[in-house]
Assembly symmetry: C2
Homo-oligomer: 274 residues x 2
Amino acid sequence: MKIVSKIAGLEHPTGVSTGLVPTMGGFHEGHLQLMRTARSESDRVVVSLFVNPTQFAAGEDFERYPRDFERDRALAEQVGVDVLFAPETSEVYPRVATTVHVPVVTKLWEGAVRPHHFEGVATVVCKLFNMVQPSVAYFGWKDLQQCLVIRRMTEDLNLPVQLSFEPTVRETDGLAMSSRNVYLTQEERRLAPLIFEQLSASKRAIGVGANTTEAIDEVLRRASDALDAAGFRVDYFDLIDLENAHPTRKASIPSAIIVAARLGKTRLIDNVLM
Amino acid sequence: MKIVSKIAGLEHPTGVSTGLVPTMGGFHEGHLQLMRTARSESDRVVVSLFVNPTQFAAGEDFERYPRDFERDRALAEQVGVDVLFAPETSEVYPRVATTVHVPVVTKLWEGAVRPHHFEGVATVVCKLFNMVQPSVAYFGWKDLQQCLVIRRMTEDLNLPVQLSFEPTVRETDGLAMSSRNVYLTQEERRLAPLIFEQLSASKRAIGVGANTTEAIDEVLRRASDALDAAGFRVDYFDLIDLENAHPTRKASIPSAIIVAARLGKTRLIDNVLM
């Protein structure tokens, strides 16, 4: 595996397909699954590892975000990654720079709770696409709204990259894998699977007939209340369409139930596709 | 010459270099010169012809902008263009879409007089680069601030395109060629060369020694006053650096004198590089 830290060090071999897995490190099974999929589908696999400062607001967890380069390097190597691209911040952002603004899908949820978060995400992903020039880029559905933002940006800007969104990888008790799970105390870790339980129960309830506006409202409210009662502070628990990321009460269109909830100092997000 | 109107109809042959000349049509010798340069430097020349609505504000000349597809088509054919890409607006902008914001170089001059103009320019050029995937893209220095915006966007977003900025092509009396020159009345057309005369005189004066802050201020003020006295309404006449497009009084760094002036209903811009 080649480790590249300079943008100029990236190669663009012609006649081979390149799969890109953009990451912020802190690798878990979800990342490794993306890398394995890329490995099985592309001639060449590039993993970028860059904790992007512009998608964190002041007071968020940029400083304490898990960083263990040697561990991540070893894991990427094991999975058969060809290039680990880990640039310095000064390489990626040498100055006040151009930004990419994605409308509509950024308005609510993470976009409302974390202003400028998706501007940071869209800009860095646009840059990474241009730096690496992959045929396909892989993202996990765990960050569902992020997937919708990247999909919309890619379509709107006509970026010549195919997108592949892969299923969320979960712990055996259902907790969605996330680099941020390491922040959880033992007690919080014990509670955390309730998020996926409530998502699954809500999906089931809507699936078996609670599909009027009123019934869906009731299902979502009960799930949210159950999390609050267990000690979470729920930011949102809603059914959204996958086109605009706006609330919907039609579970028959492409949609998902999404949730963000705080547990102590940690903010967890998860979703289930309908 | 192949005429392509659908984005999906664009080909991306590998192993050949593609030169792109983005235009809004209304071809004059300046455009043809860009096409000839592209022809001499690239295996394949693509000219895009798209009057981009998002770079015009309400009340500007979007509706009356010169459109003569048959004339433009014939001229491009004569110069040996391979592909004339003329998409419909609904192809380029099927919905409310992602935008590209370029800081610093957009703040003053055209960016101040025409809010959102450069957002429209940066976004459409980013899209065209991604659609056509050229090796090199050609622009005329006549639209100097536009060149600086595109250069900065290309660097900031790591777009894999080389930029080539070509000298302004002028009429024999010095008037910079522009699609908008057709708006001029006979009387205005007679006055118009005064813009380049004042630019040239200012460059000469600064070059032969008027290079203190005070002397440059005086040179610029006199030139601006001369245009106003002749019947122009000057928006700006200034010396700027080519890095940030901010005013400078150092003619020794990469810089240019830029001017925008209205003559009747027509707004003309021009510049000379120092």
